[in-house]
Amino acid sequence: MGRPHCHPSHHTLLEAGPFLAKMAFYGTRSVFSGKSMAPQLYLITPADPDLAQFPRQLMGVLTGPEVAALLVRRGALDDAAYAELAERLVQIGQAAGAAVLVEDDAALARSIGADGVHVTAGGAKAIRAAAEALKPDGIVGAGNVRSRHDAMSFGELDIDYVMFGPLGGAVDPQAAELAQWWAETFEVPAVHSNPAAAPDATDETGAEFLALSDCVWAKGDPAVSLAAFSAALKAKA
């Protein structure tokens, strides 16, 4: 690819001036921004839970490690079924100290007393509408980030996090790179969602939240695998 020969900008430099005057000029300011805490857990419910069994199972899982946020996934449910499921899970999640988020529907979030909404459709317009409906008390997160430009556009809105990666299913090969880039550059927290995460391969992106979905629910005892993730993150930190 052709690299421009001359730079688009004139360089800006540190204080230019007499050399010795510069030595005296420098003070000892040091503003360090430390972001070295272990990522918190962000749990995403399975796409098609057994509506009768799942609330009980979730209750069991949430008695384990501390989960910061719980996203009730819509999957293929219609509005009425989703509202019913979300309403039940809000109580369970909040009882366990997690913030419970619903997908896309800010009005539903308000009516069932959920803590916020995770916006995946409708882009900046939908995010703005959700922020208007729920802020300042509610949480608004942005997902379905398809490009770096999207991510930055969403990040400038009044949101609480940007999620990189899908809610479940196939892994997005770019998600980890984007999450890392976001976490090291921007103030808005990043959520890295890796449906195929494994407890022993700890998350290296530096994202503030690690979203777990299929990797918890797919096989074995969800409570055990969630505990394994939590232990691995704490051991690393």
Binding site: M1, G2, R3, P4, H7, P8, S9, H11, T12, L13, L14, E15, A16, G17, P18, F19, L20, K22, M23, Y26, T28, R29, S30, V31, F32, S33, S147, R148, H149, A151, M152, G155, E156, W181, W182, E184, T185, F186, E187
Partner: protein
Amino acid sequence: MNWRAPLLALTLAALPALALAQEQTRSQAQADEAANISNSIFGASETADFAFGAFQRGYFLTALELALPRAEQGDAAAQTLIAEIYSKGLGVAQNTERAAGWYQLAANNGDRLAIFELGMFYQDGSGVPQDRKKAADLFHEAADKGYAPAKYNLALLHVEGIYADPSLTTAAALMKEAADAGLPEAQYDYGSMLIEGAGTAPDAAEGARYIGLAAEQDLTAAQIDYATMLYLGQGVPRDIEAAAGWYQQAAQGGNPVAQNRLAKLVAVGEGTALDLETAAMWRALARRQGLSDPSLDRLLVSIPPDALARAEERARFWPSTPPSIETIASIPTAPKTYGPPLPAPTDMENAPSRVVLPNGVTNAKPPAPLPASKPPQPETAAPATTEPAQDP
């Protein structure tokens, strides 16, 4: 026989199209051939960067549009370009957070300008939280890639010695590299380090040479220092006229110190013609910036009041000249004509039959008969008069 006309029309329409197509293939072949010859002589050309081309022409939104798809694909040059657009607010609202994001992406892809600019962002805390350690690391990375401004900044960090090892030797080596790459600030600072013997063996002549290079690149501080060195003969042969020339250049640039020193040279006629009025003008300009100097005032005590007044007036309009009879543009009254006068574009056909005069009377009456001795003038020769005609 009706069908023939459309057929004819069709043929006529098809012919130029065919010719055009042939013409196009031929010109395409010519262009390819030309490109092949050019490539064989000059080596394969780089592909054109259309986004950067638009940027250079000031079409910033076009540049952004062209660069975005490439940037999403991980093209470092396009990412840097977008970062520049947001960093400076060119055609878009300035947005340092976004700029930092794109710089970070381009930096991850190894673009040294982006690495450097991201370093500046961390240094200043613009767009990102201030983190001078990280800034130092980024300057280091860009310097390793050979970017001169990064070497300069890294040299300053080594002098400062907080975020890089305190080492004047390392600083001097980096400063020399940046200076030899042609960065005027580095030339000036490396020259100063040579003169002071900071991190390097003292060498006044070499120091003066570097400061002279910076002066030639229009760095005002270097021009003043170089002029002083020429005046005192430090590291260079004494040359008062050259000193006055460099003070003049820095004074024209608006620097009050240079204006003050130039005023002194002009007031005593050292290295330049003695001119009290011009000296007083430079003094007025330096004073306006808050630099008063009693020793200069003593040199100018004998200036006549009218020369002082003219000097103040010149300073008021500097760098222009005060308006005067000569400089006020004359207002054109009538267009100047060249060559023989052309006949007036009037003839009796167009002349009004009733001329309305300022005092309200009209010349409705036919003109008085001419003397009988002369033949009647043809009508077209009668002059159209605008002078008030007096009633008989």
